[in-house]
């Protein structure tokens, strides 16, 4: 019996991972855009990005997820009904969970990327501009490789927290590792067994990704040093 329940829990691990990676991609793209916004010369853009990260970081993840899943569609449906259109907006749990986690972690990524960007020597960028290199090329060849190295420790941190935060989406009915573990725990009356198993899953994911990111960090260091000499 334990073996079969364990399998259903671990099978849900695929969903948890897809959710986490999806949210990470979203958070990284938004975080990078927001980091540039925070370092922009336009004051309104800076303030907008500032307000965004302040609000998102100030509200508990759980509250944001519940708001996005229950309150937002209800509000939109009321609006749609008020305008007299016959239709309904509905967020599937997976989409709502992924976007919300992406939004939450984009705020943390912003800070990580911002400090990374600030630590790239300004002289390099000025020199690149002086040579008339296209800004897109500057971004890909000069900014991004160095940012990758500088932001990697913070990025790793955010990723580890994000993986664990995916457990929150079990509250909106997404059948992830946590949801399955709860089902098994209640069905058998052995909560410790199955919650420990779920804990082991998250631990394994964080262990593997910490190892993988360490290898990546070393490789990035090498390529950048090789490029300089």
């Amino acid at each position: 019996m334990f073996f079969n329940y364990a399998l259903t829990i671990l099978a849900a691990g695929g969903l948890t991972l897809v959710l986490a990676v999806g949210a990470l991609v979203l958070a990284s793209i938004m975080g990078l855009a927001l980091a540039f916004a925070k370092l922009s010369r336009r004051p309104w853009l800076r303030r907008l990005a500032q307000a965004y990260t302040f609000i998102i970081r100030g509200i508990p993840d759980l509250v944001l997820i519940l708001l996005a899943f229950y309150s937002l569609p209800a509000l939109l449906n009321q609006l749609i009904a008020a305008v007299g259109i016959n239709g309904r907006v509905e967020f599937p749990p997976f989409g709502a969970g992924m976007v919300t986690l992406g939004v939450i972690f984009s705020a943390y990524m912003t800070e990580t990327f911002k400090s990374g960007l600030m630590n790239i020597p300004r002289g390099q960028l000025e020199a690149a501009h002086a040579f008339g290199i296209h800004p897109v090329r500057i971004f890909w060849r000069i900014t991004l490789p160095q940012l990758a190295q500088l932001a990697l420790p913070g990025f790793t941190n955010n990723w580890l927290v994000l993986v664990k935060a995916t457990a929150l989406v079990s509250l909106i009915g997404l059948q992830d590792v946590m949801f399955r573990a709860k089902g098994a725990a209640e069905a058998t009356g052995q909560p410790f067994t199955y919650y420990l198993l779920a804990g082991g899953f998250y631990l394994a994911v964080t262990l593997v990704s910490t190892g993988g990111l360490m290898v990546l960090a070393r490789r990035l260091e090498k390529t950048i040093h090789a490029g300089r000499t």
Binding site: T8, Y70, A74, N77, G87, V89, P92, G173, E186, G189
Partner: protein, 249 residues
Amino acid sequence: MLRLNLAFALALIAAPAVAAPLNIATDATFPPFESIDENGKLVGYDIELMEAICKAAALDCNIANAAWDGMIPGLLDGKYDALISQLTVTEKRRNVMAFSDIYEHPVFRFVAKKDAGLEISPEGLAGKTIAVQTGTPMDAYVTKYYPNSTIKRYDTGSAPYLELTGGRADVHISYQAQIIQAFLKSDSGKDFELVGPELTGKDAPEFGEGVAIAINKKNTELVEKINGGLAKLREDGTLEALNQKYFAQ
């Protein structure tokens, strides 16, 4: 990732309506009424009953495991067509949702350590600790009638049993069938027993009128269809057989 049913709804005006299966939600954390088996499949009294009703009423049903917190909002919002999860019918709930005919009158009981010598009454349990699952009829009942007891509330059905075996609660109240199935029959429940009287909706309004299937208020057609199916099961003895299977002692 946002599913816009708006476009779909507009397309329906032109195209003939396609019957989609009904979305029925349950919170599968309450054996023997609803839980998941080793393969992740939904099992239990409510699940078997719902499947039988759908068959009898020729309804295409899709029963899904959902989180309790989201079920009632999901029903009101149209995400789910119906809920079957040992929902007790109360006046308050009738204000926001429709119910099928009542299919079961659950019995509520207290459970405590054998030979604890507890007298089940507000005076007898004064100063004692009662564990309940939060937001349930049992919670409403002890909150109202046992003001001198310490009430500890938990958001799962199994946590109160851990408190009982750990000695952090003196007594727990729940559905009798759930206590027997989820606790007394297990190893950890062997030193415990049912105590006090059998309680039903007749003893206190907090226990509700009985258990029924919740349906969106606007969907009167579905209420009728489900009631039709339920009536058939009553006539052909399926409901009685289910009661025997799960509640015979």
